[in-house]
Symmetry: C2
Subunit: 243 residues, 2 copies
DNA sequence: CATTAACTGTGTCCTGCGGACACTGTGTAC
DNA sequence: GTACACAGTGTCCGCAGGACACAGTTAATG
């Protein structure tokens, strides 16, 4: 029923993200802003990962009791929602991305990569049922704009956006999760290389692939991005030439 | 120091997956096999998701005490590793996939999609630091084989495999996580559609896209897969024609 | 100016989690 | 028969998220 904090709205967790603050008139001043709480949580996650994030930890970070956090946030889910929307920062506006759609897509990928590298927990925090924040939606909006000149159908354009984010998530996550240069996917396996080496007879194709030293981690997603954009291009071409 | 259970090997969690059982000589019979425990856990996850998986729950399912499970498995991580390798089932052998590499890739994607649809928690359980099981590696091996005739470099071939799994994970996860037909990515947002509709002025590109009804969930990954394979093809062609 | 109501932060308590550890019971090898 | 290796149980601990009642603080209202 309150008009301000929003931590007591039962309709949907995370709506603080979309509501204007609306300062309260009576009562003591808050010791912190929602943003300060969010960034404290981001700091914790940056250091100890999402697994190391707890109400206690964040509360201690900002010098409050655990329960005081619930004045800012309805629960841990909402805290995560808030910290995600803080960590992604402002999405690029229409004036920022210039050049061909391909150049824009590459620049965009670099931007996402920057943010997700600064906050390695981010690509994994954003999965599952959750309310998106305005900045987060802004990134999707920006990605959608890029593919507009391509002439894809609406649902295909959306799929392209999904795939772009998915690709970055996949590659950045495997890159940040340890020192291993690539390691494949349904795993992220910590020692897939060793396992394959120990059972070379069972996995000949992988053994062959593993012989190659591989590229540096920093440029891991570039080849894949090129493939992806090529694929979009050929899909658009196929669409123009009457399927 | 034991020669059998493997739950006390300090070197790496999950090595039960790669060790031959080796029946013990003395002591009472085990009430269950490791496989029975694994499948019970799979059943729990199928019903209540990964979040609903706890030692208690699994123990109750098989009629044991929580602590008795630790005779089969070193900890929850190892339990997850075991249940993942059980749930993925046997990967397709070289004789199963036939036709062009493209047909093989499509068939392979269909197979992965089948398994991951049966166990919706699977695509998300497999991320992060974890020891892969033999079957899991087998799937990667199978995927690697598919791209062999394409003439890609070793690291590119590996990237292709990673992207294939990543694409399926992304699309299947967003498809299974609710009724929403697509919803974009850094989110999986539960009501992104509503949010965009409520702030149409802020997200014009997304509003335009949202006007389209979209495809049925069942065929969500097909367009993306086509793009991906097209992209690989053009990368291979670029490679042959001297970059 | 006194009162009242709204608000912030604290302390206590509960449930469920993963897991350590000491224990009882059981079966085989010596 | 006895000793030992093993299976399963019960108790305990720390930590998690969160409900709830409370004390302190501030502004609107009489």
């Amino acid at each position: 029923m309150s008009s301000t904090s929003g931590a007591d709205d039962p309709s949907a967790a995370g709506h603080i993200l979309w509501r204007v603050p609306g300062e309260p008139t009576r009562g003591p001043r808050r010791a912190l802003t929602l943003d300060e709480v969010a960034w404290a949580a981001v700091g914790v996650a940056d250091r100890d990962g999402l697994a190391g994030l707890s109400m206690q930890r964040v509360a201690a970070e900002v010098g409050l009791t655990k329960m005081a956090l619930y004045r800012y946030v309805a629960g841990k889910d909402e805290l995560e929602a808030v910290m995600i929307d803080a960590a992604v920062e402002e999405p690029p506006g229409p004036e920022t991305l210039t050049g061909t759609w391909r150049e824009q897509a590459e620049e965009f990928a670099r931007m996402v990569s920057d943010v997700w590298t600064r906050h390695p927990w981010l690509p994994w925090a954003a999965v599952g049922e959750r309310v998106m924040g305005p900045r987060e939606v802004g990134w999707v909006e920006a990605a959608t704009r890029i593919f507009e000149p391509l002439g894809l159908a609406a649902d295909e354009r959306m799929d392209a956006v999904t795939m772009l984010f998915g690709h970055l998530r996949t590659t950045l996550a495997t890159a940040s999760a340890g020192t291993r240069p690539w390691t494949a996917d349904p795993a992220g396996g910590s020692t897939m290389r060793d396992l394959v080496a120990a059972h070379a007879d069972r996995y000949p194709a992988l053994t062959a692939v593993m012989a190659d030293p591989g590229r540096p981690v920093s440029s891991r997603w570039e080849f894949g991005l090129g493939c992806l954009l090529d694929g979009f291009e050929s899909a658009a071409r196929r669409r123009e030439t009457g399927r």
